[in-house]
Amino acid sequence: MLKYIIPLVIFIVMAVFLAVGLNLNPRDIPSPLIDKPAPAFSAPKLGAPSETLSQTDLKGKVWLFNVWASWCVSCRAEHPVLNQLAKQKAAVIVGLNYKDESDAANNWLAQLGNPYDVSIMDQDGRIGIDWGVYGVPETFVIDKKGVIRYKHTGPVTSQDVQTIFLPLIAKLQAEKT
């Protein structure tokens, strides 16, 4: 009897391991920044480069930090979803225009609509490094205290908005500053 049980057990254990392995997304690297204060930045605004924005300007607000670029193909797929989200005015949406040309970026927004309350420029990708950005688009959710509460890697889908973002934003809006 044991002769049959041992291979069966080995098979089941291996099958479980392989199934888990197949369903993990290797691109989804857990960010060590979750529950840490948002990294400091002070960067020129897209469209108004003489003005700067820093993370302290957003204290007391729940905000999304969306990393995008006009050269990024999946950002194009994500864009209508962000436009929809912006209409609901659930939270401030700040864009990080990552390693992009400001002309190309402005054109992109003019063509596809601008979901961002403000976008800042990160032409040499330094803010990106501070935020641990490795795959555009990425979206962070920051609470009123300026702490990063969630990170989404890859394009946000409308399903993500319904199941993850809106409930989280509602919860964070209810928190005290």
């Binding site: 290797p26 691109r27 690297i29 857990p30 960010s31 060590p32 920044l33 990294p39 390693k99 040499d124 990708g125 330094r126 990106g128 490094i129 501070d130 935020w131 641990g132 490795y134 795959g135």
Partner: protein, 152 residues
């Protein structure tokens, strides 16, 4: 001719791994630290390459970051810490031993131990079987066969 071509191609392939951009260093130690670091940091876009091997934009930026921090006199540990604070342990090809990475470190030894135990049990079992005494009847048969010789 074919061999010559092969030799040529093999020598050329060495350049593929060479550093992409030229960087100037104050001393050989710094150069060494730079080389060590960029071959220990993972490129997160092309996950099975180090930032030394990869030509991705992010890898270039991270090489620049490493270079600048070395110029500022930061130690290798400072730079490794800087990277893990932002990208997590995954960015290191040589991750530290922690509860989270424990399985990664202990796993291979665990499997080795399981293998050794299995071999040990298997050998033990075979040995006890071989040591079993031969019955008198078989002993006799062996004896007669030896005397007669094999006719087949």
């Amino acid at each position: 001719m074919r061999i010559l071509m092969l030799v040529l191609l093999l020598t050329l392939s060495g350049f593929a791994g060479a550093r992409v951009e030229y960087k100037e260093f104050a001393n050989a130690e710094q150069q060494q630290a730079y080389d060590d670091l960029i071959s220990e940091l993972r490129c997160l876009v092309c996950q099975n390459q180090t930032i030394a091997d990869s030509n991705a934009d992010l890898a270039k930026d991270l090489r620049r970051q490493v270079y600048e921090m070395l110029q500022q006199g930061k130690s290798k540990q400072d730079i490794a810490d800087f990277m893990t604070q932002r990208y997590g342990d995954f960015v290191l090809y040589n991750p530290p031993f922690k509860a989270k990475t424990g399985l990664l470190w202990i796993g291979p030894f665990m499997f080795l131990a399981i293998g050794l135990i299995a071999v040990f049990v298997f050998v033990r079992r075979n040995k006890t079987r071989a040591a079993a005494p031969i019955s008198a009847e078989r002993q006799q048969k062996i004896q007669s066969l030896l005397e007669k010789g094999d006719n087949s």
